[in-house]
């Protein structure tokens, strides 16, 4: 049995009165590629943001490897719940488990491409600069950007920027890499070059969770597909099953809107 990298159980999240996530369970095993699809506002991005602690959950449990990042305790009145996150130093360790690639890339514009990739490992992981630089250059080479190391993000196309962002995330050597609609800000041509990279990572057995609107890509790249709608997981399973033979009416409807 593969080791479990991430386990999220009974996740609840609301923004004021709006329930965005209702009792979500998500387990990601080592080497697995999980795609999350669903209409806008279904909660899929929020789920990633909760998994990466950019949003705080209102209920449930988040465990990375064997380290509990957040758990929920029922208060003495037996009704109200309180979410407790791990302490600062523990969270710092847990955060090393994952990386996140944003829809809007969010590169640091004042740093060169190489520095963007190197800064995390050098400044946060306190690793040897020479070693990191070599790795960073190899990563950029893998992304097809070896000649862009010394330029600045503003001189790159969106697709190139996103590939730098992927290199930056990989340089931290995360156990699992999250993608939050990585190609939604790109035109079709640039989308292809980014998807190609993600496919390559999948072949190398990189553990990934990808929120995407690229259906055929999701079908091709993932081991498991999750369809979310209205803050719940409607359907989950083998991509061939979910795309070829969806069980739920809502899934059928959603997928139909893509084939029309």
């Amino acid at each position: 049995m593969e080791k479990t990298v991430l386990r999220m159980t009974n996740i609840e999240k609301h923004f004021d009165d709006l329930e965005v996530l209702k009792d979500i369970n998500l387990t990601v095993n080592n080497g697995e590629v999980v795609s999350i699809i669903g209409p806008s506002g279904s909660g899929k991005s929020t789920l990633l943001r909760c998994a990466t602690f950019l949003e705080k959950i209102d209920g449930g449990e988040i465990v990375y490897l064997d380290k509990t990042a957040a758990k929920t305790r029922v208060l003495s009145d037996g009704v109200r719940k309180k979410v407790e996150y791990a302490g600062k130093s523990e969270m710092k360790e847990i955060k090393k488990c994952f990386g996140l690639v944003f829809q809007q890339f969010n590169l640091f514009p004042h740093l060169s491409v190489l520095r963007n990739v190197m800064d995390g490992p050098v400044e946060v992981l306190k690793r040897n600069r020479k070693e990191v630089e070599q790795e960073a250059r190899e990563l950029l080479d893998k992304m097809g950007l070896a000649d862009k190391a010394d330029t600045y993000p503003c001189n790159l196309s969106g697709g190139q920027q996103q590939r730098v962002a992927i290199a930056r995330a990989l340089a931290m050597k995360p156990e699992v890499l999250f993608f939050d609609e990585p190609t939604s800000a790109l035109d079709p041509e640039l989308t292809i070059e980014v998807l190609k990279i993600i496919r390559k990572l999948a072949e190398e057995k990189m553990t990934m969770v990808i929120v995407t609107h690229e259906m055929s890509f999701a079908e091709g790249v993932s081991n498991r597909v999750i369809f979310m709608d209205g803050g719940v997981i409607v359907e989950e399973g083998d991509p061939k099953e979910v795309f070829g033979n969806p069980k739920q009416e809502r899934t059928k409807q959603f997928l139909k809107s893509y084939t029309e």
Partner: protein
């Protein structure tokens, strides 16, 4: 009075003006940063007091503030004012006033930063301090530079308000010499001085802006 004597007399005023200008900048630029942090403080009374401070600094004339700093200790606290205190009062007045304006400029820059920059830094595991100094601040500096230039140029001219305390800077001297010599020339000299000083400021700030144009 010959023109060269007049120039020599006024040049001592120019030096005083420049001294006031440089010390005010040296004090208010860092103090403004502290003011922003205080205003953004999560401790309510601190941010509240900072807001009042900024409101007063911006809402009353700088000339009035200078008079308060100078005469306040005598009238309010009954302290004896020494002659050396005048320059201190001027410095406090100018620095406190300009720090408030700089703080608001810094705030506008900090608040204009996209949230994605903070989130990217957080995901990479940067501490809050590292995020601010390595990611946010360098970009904020670039964004606020034009507004800062404006403020610095205003300061060059505002130093003339020190004449309210009879501080012998270039504007005071120009007025005095003009009156005693019944001559218009001292005003021309003072005008040229301010203009040239600001021209230099504009060139220097332009250079700094240019040095940051390597990224967008």
């Amino acid at each position: 009075m010959t023109f060269s004597t007049m120039l020599r007399t006024m040049s001592s005023g120019m030096l005083r003006t420049l001294l006031l200008f440089i010390l005010t900048l040296a004090g208010s630029i860092p103090l403004g940063m502290i003011v922003v942090f205080l205003k953004k403080s999560k401790i309510r009374p601190i941010s509240w007091l900072t807001k009042i401070y900024i409101a007063i600094m911006r809402g009353t004339p700088l000339m009035l503030q200078l008079l308060v700093w100078y005469f306040g200790p005598y009238y309010v606290l009954g302290m004896k004012i020494t002659s050396g205190y005048k320059f201190i009062a001027l410095l406090i007045g100018f620095i406190m006033n300009y720090a408030a304006y700089f703080a608001e400029i810094y705030r506008s820059g900090i608040e204009s930063m996209p949230v994605g920059q903070y989130e990217a830094a957080e995901i990479l595991g940067y501490s809050r301090i590292r995020t601010f100094f390595k990611i946010i601040l360098p970009q904020v500096v670039k964004r606020i530079l034009p507004a800062v230039t404006n403020e610095v140029i205003t300061l060059v001219k505002d130093t003339s308000l020190a004449s309210a305390l009879a501080y012998q800077e270039v504007f005071s001297l120009a007025k005095q010499i003009s009156a005693s010599q019944t001559s218009f020339l001292p005003f021309v000299v003072a005008g040229v001085f301010y203009f040239v000083a600001n021209y230099v400021v504009a060139i220097v700030m332009g250079r700094i802006e240019k040095s940051m144009q390597y990224y967008k």
